[in-house]
């Protein structure tokens, strides 16, 4: 973890296909945000979005790096995964669209709600993908309500 006077940054690795441990990074981020005194309603939105993104990595990618940055203005969560990528992002953003397997659905996920749910919870959300290489998402939560992102 790197800290400066006004900014905290931390890096996590998310492993693929490990359903039993899926969510551990989101738990660590929740605990960190609680420790530094972020408002609980923002923590809830941030953790739900992170958890959905983490589950996407576990289900679809080979591995991913998560970069968390917190400063007085915002929480920025960037996830870069290596994997199959997304061919049609607009389609993937539609609620109910899913390429999940039965195993994923048995775990309670894969209903095509993940990406829309991340966007719904975030103040700013961006996704880019290169098919065959991987997907990157930026999830931002404003801490200063006067800031217009």
């Amino acid at each position: 973890m790197k800290d400066s006077e006004n900014e905290l940054s931390k890096h996590y690795t998310i492993a693929s296909a490990d359903f039993s441990r899926a969510g551990q990074v989101s738990t660590q981020i929740k605990e960190l945000l609680q420790e530094i005194g972020i408002t609980s309603s923002i923590i809830r939105r941030a953790v739900i979005a992170t958890y959905e993104a983490e589950m996407n990595v576990v289900m679809y990618a080979e591995e991913a790096e998560l970069f968390l940055t917190v400063n007085p203005e915002k929480i920025h969560i960037r996830i870069e995964d290596k994997g199959q990528g997304i061919t049609d992002i607009n389609l993937a953003m539609q609620e109910g669209f899913s390429t999940a397997t039965d195993e994923m659905r048995e775990m309670g996920f894969g209903a095509g709600m993940g990406l829309p749910n991340i966007k719904r919870n975030a103040d700013k959300f961006n996704i880019s993908s290169i098919p065959g290489k991987g997907t990157s998402v930026d999830i931002i939560f404003c801490l200063n309500q006067r800031e217009n992102y």
């Binding site: 039993s20 809830r44 939105r45 953790v47 958890y51 959905e52 309670g108 996920f109 209903a111």
Partner: protein, 120 residues
């Protein structure tokens, strides 16, 4: 409605969190799909689910659920129970299926999550 009353109505077994039975439950929501739960829940929900893996406990933590009722007699494995104990989330298990569980609680006056106006 106290969690104790919910336990009695559902003839439920307390898996962990016996000391939480006096907490007040204001509303509930049920689904086996954690994606749906993450999308529709509100803080303070009582989560009813038939999904008993460890992700149901994690989801309950992230959505700030007050407790989990597992339907169809299900219960999480040892890891899930340990996680719930650590997080202070009470877990109950009822033999009723989802439809009947929801019906008993709703018919007894416990609102659904969609009935609640709650700002996050």
């Amino acid at each position: 409605m106290k969690l104790q009353e919910i336990k009695d109505l559902l003839k439920a077994e307390v898996i962990c969190g016996e000391d939480h039975l006096d907490i007040e439950i204001e509303f509930a929501g049920g689904s086996d799909l954690m994606s749906d739960v993450l999308a529709f829940s509100k803080p303070g929900i009582l989560l009813l689910t038939g999904l008993s893996n460890v992700q149901s406990v994690r989801t309950a933590d992230f959505i700030e659920a007050k407790g989990i009722i597992y339907v169809r007699g299900k219960m999480p494995d040892a890891n899930g129970i340990e996680m719930a104990k650590t997080l202070g989330i009470p877990i109950l298990s009822t033999k009723h299926m989802m439809y009947k569980t929801c019906g008993i609680l709703y018919g007894s006056g416990l609102p659904g999550v969609s009935d609640i106006e709650k700002t996050e």
